[in-house]
Symmetry: C2
Subunit: 168 residues, 2 copies
DNA sequence: TTAAACTTTCAAAAATAAATGAAAATAATT
DNA sequence: AATTATTTTCATTTATTTTTGAAAGTTTAA
């Protein structure tokens, strides 16, 4: 297999994985493209490589910047903007975890917290089942939350070096 | 807040979270409904509670059964089928992890494995960047995979008792 | 065996999400 | 300050996903 083919396969696989996890396929593909590019790319280049429109490329790149996965670069003498991706997988994993925690877990935790406080007739099976299920899910969510918090503070070496040795 | 309202909020929140993670909103809602129901429900009841069509209810329930999150129940003297959800959050978390690993992580690992074997000119920056990025992502994916394998084998008490204490 | 009760299927419709592209806005250059 | 290069916006179009509902299929029981 040659590089060009491998690159396409990688972009395709990354896009598919992204879409299965609620991330826009094109966004994951642009990310993949930048990940394997040694140089920062222009919007034009992204458009050409992935055959997408200017508007799509522009919005997708902005989203990636919002996620903290891509940065703008200005080259002296050049008027165009260049884009490059953070390449450290540990940093990528942390940024994605951080962003999804903030956008999705935190709001759910807030609602679960409210729902666990509901009061009612302990004799009523409907009430009891509701309370038990919600309380249990809340517990799990809090554990996930705590784990993510710790991970976000952790050092790469600690993460790769220690955590995974616990699981063996 | 009363039970009926809380139930709706829970179903809505669970549906939203599901859709943000690539799980059909209705499927997450049906799951939420069964989670908080003390008794197994019929297709009719699911249809009525969530205002969805028969076809939708039927397919969604089948999907939930495929995921191992819901089971059919037959009541003696009753002709209809009843559906109830696994309520142990640890079991739910494991089943979801197991299923998504099988459906999404395993295929990606296979592709990444192939891509890391590509050979080329080490002097070429395009080649070097590709190789480095793919190798790093492969490493991360393998670590995630190993962690999930361990989790799937683990006992609840071990998981809740030990793991989360490491992160504190 | 046949009629009623219930479940499954799937083509078509509806809803939702994503992409386009031309126009507007902004920024740099002459 | 006018021209040109570049980026951003967003109404519209296109693609994808989800839902519907009626028909076909299956099971049970009289």
């Amino acid at each position: 297999m040659e590089l060009a083919e491998a690159k396409l396969k990688f972009i395709e696989a990354w896009g598919k994985l992204g879409s299965e996890w609620g991330i826009n396929r094109t966004m994951a593909q642009v990310h993949a493209l930048l990940l394997v590019s040694p140089e920062a790319l222009t919007t034009e280049e992204v458009m050409a490589e992935l055959s997408i429109s200017r508007g799509n490329a522009n919005m997708t790149l902005r989203d990636l910047i919002d996620w903290g996965l891509v940065e703008k670069q200005h080259k002296t003498g050049e008027r165009k903007e260049f884009f490059f991706a953070e390449k450290d997988t540990w940093v990528i994993a942390r940024k994605v975890a951080e962003e999804r925690k903030k956008r999705e877990l935190d709001p759910v935790l807030k609602i679960l917290g409210q729902l666990t406080e509901i009061e009612g007739d302990e004799k009523d099976p409907a009430f009891k089942t509701f309370k038990t299920s919600v309380t249990d899910i809340n517990k799990l969510a809090k554990n996930v939350n705590k784990t993510l918090d710790t991970m976000l503070k952790a050092e790469e070496s600690w993460f790769f070096g220690s955590i995974f040795k616990i699981f063996k």
